[in-house]
Amino acid sequence: MQETIIDTIDKAAMALGAGLMFLGIVVLGIVEILAGPPYGAAPMTNDAGDIIATPMFDPALRTGLVIAGLVVLLVWQGYRMAATPDQEQTDQQVEMAAD
C-alpha cells in the first residue's frame, strides 16, 4: 500500500477534490451571503407559502460540486489501489556504507 503522497497525480487529485468541495460549500456560500437574502440555499417564502426570493445558486449546483469533489477523491483512491502491486510486500532494510 502506498503510504506516501508523492505523485503529481496524488497532489492534483487532493487539490481538485478539496477544491471542488470548498467551492460548493464555502466559496459559493460566501457569494450567496453577499448577494443578500435568502442566505441559505432554499427559496424564501412568505406566510402564504409564495416564493418571494430565490437563492443565487441552485442548490443542485452546489451539492453537485461537492459530490464531484468526493467522486474525484474516490477515483483517486481507486487509482492508488490499482497502482498498488498485488504481491507480498518484501520491504527490506539494506545497510549502506557511509560516504
Partner: protein, 174 residues
C-alpha cells in the same frame, strides 16, 4: 537561573496523530457511527423485513437534484434491489463500521447512502451544510483515517497472510 517555557498543550493533552488519544477517539467515533447505521437498518428489518417499500418511493421523489435522473430511475427500476437492500446494507454497513471489519468498504457504502439522504432530504434553508452532509463526511473521515485499525478487527485481518499477499485489499479494509 534556568527557565522552562510552559506549553500547556504540548504535554499529555496533545492530540498526536497516531497517539493514544487519536486512536481512542477514532475508535469511539467509529463505534457510534456504526451504531447509527446498524440501528437504522436493523429496526427497518424488524418492522418491514426485506420489503422496505419507502426506499423506492423516496428515490422516485428525488427530482431536480444534483444526481440528475439517476435516483428516479433507480427508484423505478431497481425497487427489487432497494426494498431488501436498504435495511440489509444499512445493517451490514453498521456492523462493519462498529467492529471495524472491511471498514473502508463499509464507509464507502455509508457515504453512498448519506449522499442520497443529503440531496434527497434537501431542505437547505440553512445552507448546504446539514446534518446529513456531516454524516457523509463522518464516513469519509473514517475511511481516510483507516479507522478499523484502531481497536477494530481490521487490525487483525490486515496481518493475515492472504491480505499480505494482496496488499490492494488494504484499500477495502483499514
Amino acid at each position: 537561573m534556568a527557565t522552562k517555557a510552559a506549553n500547556p498543550l504540548g504535554e499529555e493533552f496533545a492530540f498526536d496523530i497516531g497517539g493514544p488519544i487519536a486512536k481512542y477517539w477514532v475508535a469511539v467515533l467509529r463505534v457510534i457511527t456504526g451504531w447509527w447505521f446498524f440501528h437504522a437498518g436493523v429496526t427497518k428489518l424488524i418492522e418491514d423485513g426485506l420489503a422496505y417499500g419507502y426506499g423506492p418511493m423516496y428515490m422516485e421523489g428525488m427530482t431536480g437534484t444534483a444526481l440528475g435522473p439517476l435516483p428516479v430511475w433507480m427508484g423505478q427500476n431497481l425497487a427489487w434491489l432497494i426494498k431488501p437492500g436498504v435495511p440489509l446494507f444499512e445493517t451490514l454497513i453498521g456492523l462493519g463500521i462498529m467492529f471495524g471489519v472491511l471498514t473502508r468498504l463499509a464507509a464507502f457504502g455509508g457515504a453512498f447512502f448519506m449522499t442520497l439522504f443529503w440531496v434527497g432530504n434537501a431542505d437547505f434553508a440553512h445552507g448546504v451544510v446539514s446534518g446529513d452532509l456531516m454524516g457523509l463526511l463522518l464516513f469519509v473521515t473514517l475511511a481516510a483515517l483507516a479507522a478499523g485499525r484502531y481497536y477494530g478487527l481490521d487490525a487483525v485481518i490486515e496481518q493475515m497472510a492472504f491480505v499480505k499477499r494482496h496488499p490492494k485489499l488494504r484499500y477495502l479494509l483499514g
